[in-house]
């Protein structure tokens, strides 16, 4: 059946063609950003535009770090994102464990209260929260960027689900062996729930890293600004320094690219948590 085989080959060729086209559309903005970050501002303005870094130039990156304060922004972002991630893991593990495996009065009602937080968009709370944070004296301080996000309804929900999957017999056996709740939590429950914990960790980190509106509201000095807000500063710089802006975006995206490469599985699970599996 050569005709049929020819047809299959043609279909495959079209398939690859569409894949390549889509890949080009997705990648082009990223590619050209990397290229431009390696060019001089004059070369970027050159017409017709250069699509390859024929004479790669590191000055954009040097300026991004020297005058663009990128190192400080990066440090702040890492600090804030790590603190939020660790905090969310701790509060979610504790609350998730309580809701899954401990019995106490009003447990279900309190769980509904936790779920209710999922319905409040944080954009609707920023007016009062900026007042609160100002009253605490936290403007331009790390706690303002971190503390409001240390608890998460979604995280608690996900870990409760994971802990509900811990076999009851394991729990009973551990009790017979004299394990208290704390030991059972740290030695048995958390290790068993590791996939959920890892997914939440990646999800929390990504969310914290990408925050934009809140950091904009509670910081106005370079000392505490995060990378995302730093990009806003860089966007405002002149065309003579446009390569610095491009270098800044590459630097800001790089840690998450690394995360994507290293933790692809957890990232996928974190992003789709609550979506596909319910």
């Amino acid at each position: 059946m050569p005709a049929r085989k020819r047809r299959a080959t043609a279909v495959r060729a079209v398939h690859y063609g569409v894949l390549v086209l889509l890949a080009a559309v997705v990648l082009f903005p990223i590619y050209i950003t990397v290229v431009n970050s390696l060019l001089t501002p004059e070369a970027i303005g050159h017409r017709p535009p250069s699509l390859f870094p024929t004479h790669p130039h590191g000055s954009g990156y040097v300026s991004a770090f020297r005058s663009g304060h990128l190192a400080i922004y990066l440090r702040n972002s890492i600090l804030v994102a790590v603190a939020i991630t660790v905090g969310q893991l701790v509060t979610s593990v504790l609350a998730g464990y309580a809701f899954a495996l401990l019995r106490f009065p009003f447990r279900n009602a309190l769980f509904v209260v936790f779920l209710a937080t999922l319905m409040v968009p944080y954009e609707a709370t920023i007016i009062t929260n900026t007042h609160t944070v100002t009253n605490f004296g936290w403007i331009n301080k790390y706690p303002a960027l971190i503390v409001p996000f240390l608890a998460t309804g979604l995280g608690t929900f996900l870990l409760r689900q994971a802990f509900l999957g811990v076999p009851r017999e394991l729990h009973d056996a551990a009790r017979l062996d004299g394990y208290g709740h704390w030991r059972f939590l740290t030695r048995v429950a958390v290790p068993l729930a590791r996939p959920a914990v890892a997914a939440l960790a990646v999800f929390s980190f990504l969310g914290a890293w990408n925050q934009y509106l809140w950091p904009l509201l509670v910081t106005n000095t370079d000392r505490v600004r995060t990378v995302q807000i730093g990009l806003r500063q860089l966007e405002g710089t002149s065309i003579q320094q446009i390569n610095v802006t491009f270098a800044g975006t590459v630097i800001a995206a790089f840690p998450i690219f690394l995360l994507l490469v290293l933790f692809q599985k957890q990232l996928v699970r974190g992003l789709t948590a609550g979506a596909v599996k319910g």
């Binding site: 019995r103 954009e123 007016i127 998460t152």
Partner: protein, 297 residues
């Protein structure tokens, strides 16, 4: 015996409360208190001059703001933004997931490329396109023949579609990952059975794959809708709501009132509106999730 049981129960309850206390305290301070306070702030008019006390006006401010052209216009822009971003994003993301679901040589590379925009934040994506659309040096401006004068982002007709396109691009990685994960849960046997029965590829897609994807498609639609109502970063970085409010989505309008005009009264009414809209969308989403959990069993 019963005494020790009662005691251990009390201890368990105390531990339970201790475990949820940190999160509960944070929710109280940063979620529930602000929500109540915001509703209340909506009942007070901010004086035209600082230093005067806020004036209680009952529901008048709610009526005025919600009935105003500014509010309706920003609602219209937000819905339009949702219509530009959600269907396009889902169709592209699903299409890419379907194309990348085949067993072909080198398909892993395409999967990685299609996921890659999850590494870009709203700010990264916005700054990239802001520079590419710069009317003086922007590459896209050059290719689109929009050099000099007003750029696309300053064009009343094209600003919102441009911001929407940036948003679609930035979310594509996420939509792709979401739809790929959903595709993986479509049983191969089912597709194989349909193939044996002589169903064409198109027929298999329409009658087997898409129905099985429908819960995730609905989910993506709802969270896309919610995201449209919470869009802020791309507006702030690309257009600041302009030109002449053509891209002023609800959250950006709220930000302008609260932080650029210092009018907490009007801003609070907008925040309550935002809350109610999101609430409705979230309830729809939870209903869908519930149904899916039921399916899974």
């Amino acid at each position: 015996m019963s005494r020790t049981t009662a005691q251990s129960r009390r201890r368990e309850a105390a531990l339970g409360y201790a475990f949820i206390a940190p999160a509960l305290l944070l929710f109280g301070v940063f979620v529930f208190y602000p929500m109540v306070k915001t509703v209340q702030l909506g009942f007070f008019r901010v004086p035209p001059f600082p230093g005067l006390p806020n004036k209680p006006v009952g529901f008048r401010q709610y009526r005025q703001v919600l009935g105003s052209h500014d509010f309706r216009d920003s609602l219209k822009v937000t819905v339009l933004f949702g219509l530009y971003t959600v269907p396009a994003g889902i169709i592209l993301g699903t299409g890419m997931a379907l194309l990348a679901h085949q067993k072909l040589r080198g398909i892993g590379v395409f999967r990685t490329i299609f996921s890659s925009t999850v590494a870009t934040s709203v700010a990264v994506a916005s700054v990239i396109f802001f520079t590419l659309l710069n009317p003086q040096v922007g590459l896209l401006s050059y290719w689109l023949g929009k050099v000099g004068g007003n750029g696309i982002l300053q064009d009343p007709t094209w600003a919102l579609p441009a911001v929407a396109a940036v948003t679609v691009w930035q979310n594509l990685g996420f939509t792709f990952i979401l739809m790929s994960a959903a595709l993986q849960s479509v049983p191969d046997e089912l597709l194989e059975a349909a193939r044996v029965d002589g169903a064409s590829a198109w027929r298999r897609l329409r009658s087997v794959t898409l129905p099985l994807l429908s819960p995730t498609l609905l989910f993506a639609t709802v969270i896309g809708g919610i995201a449209a109502f919470q869009a802020f970063g791309q507006i702030d970085l690309l257009t600041q709501g302009g030109p002449i409010n053509h891209t002023r989505v609800l959250t950006y309008y709220l930000y302008q009132e609260a932080f650029l005009r210092n009018n907490d009264g009007v801003a609070s009414v907008l925040a309550v509106a935002l809350f109610v809209i999101t609430l409705v969308l979230t309830l729809v989403q939870l209903r869908l999730l519930e149904r899916r959990v039921f399916y899974a069993r």
